[in-house]
Symmetry: C2
Subunit: 209 residues, 2 copies
């Protein structure tokens, strides 16, 4: 029932829609995705997608959700393979985050911009984003316990860390980084500065490096 000539029923249109949408968005951006176009590519009529996604924005939400899954998997894999030094854990987590955004710019934009998304379905995405954030909080809390670290609210510090990597990722994928800057070095510098900033607070003797 899934791959022979009987073409009236597609077999698994819902999954095919999400996959094709990811591809179309990857090259061409969100605005290059049109209901009629994606229907045609899947050899189906223009209204067929509406049996699975009542609104176009619902399809976009699904694409964003799949992006969150991919990001979560990558970060968990990275964290599992990371050395036990808490500093390295935080640093690698941040770098992997930025790398994901660089490799999937349009999808990343969709995940964190409410521009193209309907206001209501954000809870689904919110939950997915929270899962990743909670993991970050855990890692940062562990890092704080390792000593020599500011005793700030780990949630607060997690937001600070998230701001750094999210901002860096955004600037890079929006093309705001001057070409003369070495992006890899910039990523390293960002995580380094962040970690140094988390280490001490006002009490460090000012001494030139």
């Amino acid at each position: 029932m899934r791959d022979n000539k009987s073409k009236y029923h597609h077999g698994d249109l819902r999954a095919a829609l999400i996959g094709e949408a990811v591809d179309m968005i990857a090259d061409g951006g969100v605005e290059s995705l049109t209901m009629r176009d994606i229907s045609g590519r899947l050899g189906v009529s223009r209204a067929a997608p509406y049996r699975h996604f009542p609104k176009k924005s619902d399809l976009l939400v699904a694409v964003a959700a799949s992006g969150f899954e991919g990001l979560r998997d990558r970060m968990q894999a990275m964290d599992a393979a990371a050395p036990r030094s808490s500093v390295e854990r935080v640093r690698r987590l941040g770098e992997e985050y930025v790398r994901f955004a660089i490799e999937n710019p349009a999808q990343y934009r969709l995940m964190y911009g409410k521009e193209a998304l309907s206001r209501q379905d954000l809870p689904v995405l919110r939950e997915a984003a929270n899962a990743i954030f909670d993991h970050l909080v855990l890692v940062i809390r562990a890092h704080q316990k390792s000593g020599g670290i500011k005793r700030q609210d780990p949630r607060m510090m997690a937001f600070v860390a998230w701001s750094s990597v999210h901002g860096l990722a955004s600037l890079i994928i929006e093309g705001q980084i001057l070409t003369e800057i070495d992006v890899d070095e910039l990523i390293r510098q960002t995580t380094r500065t962040l970690l140094d900033g988390m280490r001490v607070h006002r009490t460090c003797s000012t001494r030139k490096s």
Copy 2:
């Protein structure tokens, strides 16, 4: 010729378009701005705007450019009024940056997202963004000279700083910050961590605060 009953010629349609577009985007977002709607609001026919902006995206670029002007003015004013302590200068600059984004979320999104903008006219915006960035580089370079600071490439460090505040601003205006977090405190914490991270590098004795 500008305000009496002779209504065939609007007087200064171009400026009126930008102003109205700013308002419409401010409440309703970019997608609530439609060529036909804005024409109606200004008592003009739907094709009239095209005498001043060949494409809708050109109007959006103008809106973004006006946003950059506003941001630049605010940051320059803040910097002029700031105390001479270089730490305070950097901190206040960052906080003012985030505040601008919070107060003009849709416009800020337009300024830094290439989503709704045509690819070609970015040079204009690039220049406006660069002006602000260059100012930041200056302030950071001055801060570095004040002592006790990493001797990193100031351009690089400016990007790190920019990433922090841009990321924080983005997360806030996209509604990603949990409600239980005090946003003002988060802003302060972000700039504080950033400044601490810029101060020293690997050479600071690890001591609990």
